[in-house]
């Protein structure tokens, strides 16, 4: 990479960029990691309702230390608050909400996204890792929109946007958009379409780091 290479976005910048695109009034589930940061960047002008798999709708910001409610955690097992209008329910109802297509959006992390929308984000396939899946497969299969937020490449420079996933799949053909540290990419029936490059990045630079054909919007 040349010295003039523009900087990729930070985790916070990726989350903020994604948050811009969430419309007022959407019901959204945020996965663990960078997706969780998204809630910090939804503007006060929008009412976005966050769902947590363990049975909450209307999740608010983390409490300060003096106002922790010990009976209130999110799916990431962190203390949270509830906004006025929140509701609680059991795990079957919570996943009925997910599986039944009632969530407008699930924001998930990813190991790989394929140009047909396949998602791999739960297992690297290593046998001894102690696998865990949580709600990833349900969210991947159930939400109306699945947006993945992840680095564009691995630390080794290998693209995480691919023609075909090599890691075990989470869900088939469900990803509709990918927010990376260098681009926003739509997943269409024709494949990956560059919706927006990060500031300073060109189509060619993004294509060079993408493991599948990139179309212009």
């Amino acid at each position: 990479m040349s010295e003039t290479q523009p900087k990729p976005l930070t985790r916070e910048q990726m989350a903020a960029r994604l948050a811009q695109d969430i419309p007022d009034g959407w019901f959204v589930n945020l996965g663990i990691g960078v997706p969780t940061l998204v809630s910090n960047y939804v503007g006060a002008d929008k009412e976005v309702i966050f769902h947590s798999e363990n049975g909450l709708l209307g999740v608010g910001p983390a409490p300060d230390e003096d106002h922790v409610e010990p009976w209130l955690i999110n799916a990431g097992k962190q203390y949270v608050t509830l906004l006025p209008g929140a509701s609680t329910f059991n795990s079957a109802e919570s996943f009925g909400i997910i599986r039944g297509g009632h969530l407008d959006l699930a924001v998930l992390g990813g190991y790989e996204v394929a140009e047909n929308g396949d998602l791999a984000n739960w297992s690297t396939g290593a046998n001894d890792a102690g696998p865990a899946v949580g709600g990833a497969m349900d969210l991947g299969a159930g939400a109306k929109q699945v947006w993945v937020v992840m680095d564009h490449t691995t630390k080794q420079g290998v693209s995480k946007l691919v023609e075909k996933c090599t890691y075990p799949l989470t869900a088939l053909g469900s990803v509709t958009r990918v927010y990376t540290n260098i681009a926003v990419i739509d997943v269409t029936k024709d494949g990956f379409v560059l919706r927006e490059a990060a500031p300073g990045w060109t189509f060619e630079e993004v294509q060079a780091r993408t493991g599948a054909r990139l179309l212009r919007a």
């Binding site: 007022d24 309702i49 709708l57 509701s87 909400i97 599986r99």
Partner: protein, 226 residues
């Protein structure tokens, strides 16, 4: 900002067209969206499919709705009524189709639609006329039939309380089919006895989270009558 309250019946039922399938809450007279049904009867629609537990009763505009000829088909468990022969008469005259479904299977098929379960096996109805023609399988030594989810275009429901996010509560036996129909239709419309501010309904008291609800109209009509 989210505000699911609508000002009038026209807005509440906008987009309901000829040929639509409609889920209607209520068991007997309790929890039935009386005024919504009444308005549907006035819309002059044709060839509707009505999915509800009871279809033959004389209360809540149902008789009027049936008499207008708007309903081409009824899916229900119990169309008979001691106080109305309207449905039976139309059925005998061949003017209305009937799909009879065991009540628990009806409830589970509707709940399945809301919960994203496309089909399930149940022992109910296996080996009977109402299971005839359905795929069967013996599971754990019991004959079961495969039943499919019932999706609809509209769900019309009655709640006891609602807030602007669409969170709902119900009163006593007013619950019945209402919570499971919320979310089983493309558009879920609720008439509510009481309007609450956001946060007035405790999170643990919400029976239907607002995510299932599209439109709410305030209809404080008071107590149902048998």
């Amino acid at each position: 900002m989210i505000n699911k309250f609508v000002p009038d019946m026209e807005t509440a039922l906008a987009g309901l067209n000829d040929g639509a399938t409609i889920l209607m809450g209520g068991f007997g007279s309790v929890g039935q969206p009386v005024q919504l049904v009444d308005h549907i009867a006035d819309m002059g629609l044709k060839n509707l499919t009505l999915i509800a537990n009871n279809a033959g009763a004389a209360f809540g505009g149902m008789t009027k709705l049936l008499q207008t000829g708007a309903i081409g088909k009824v899916v229900c468990s119990y169309p008979r009524s001691s106080n109305s022969t309207v449905f039976i008469d139309l059925y005998r005259e061949g003017k209305i189709q009937l799909e009879l479904v065991p009540q628990g299977t009806l409830a589970e098929r509707i709940r399945a639609a809301s919960a994203g379960i496309p089909a399930f096996f149940t022992p109910t109805g296996a080996g009977t006329q109402l299971g005839a023609g359905k795929e069967t399988r013996e599971i754990n030594g019991r004959l079961c039939v495969l039943e499919t989810a019932i999706h609809a275009d509209f769900a019309v429901l009655e709640a006891w309380e609602a807030d602007r996010w669409g969170n709902l509560t119900y009163k006593l036996s007013g619950q019945n089919f209402n919570p499971i129909m919320a979310g089983a239709a493309a558009v879920t419309v609720v008439q509510t006895q009481h309007v609450r501010e956001l946060g007035e309904i405790h999170p643990d008291a919400v029976k239907t989270p607002g995510i299932y609800v599209d439109r709410v109209i305030h209809v404080p009509y008071g107590d149902p009558t048998l």
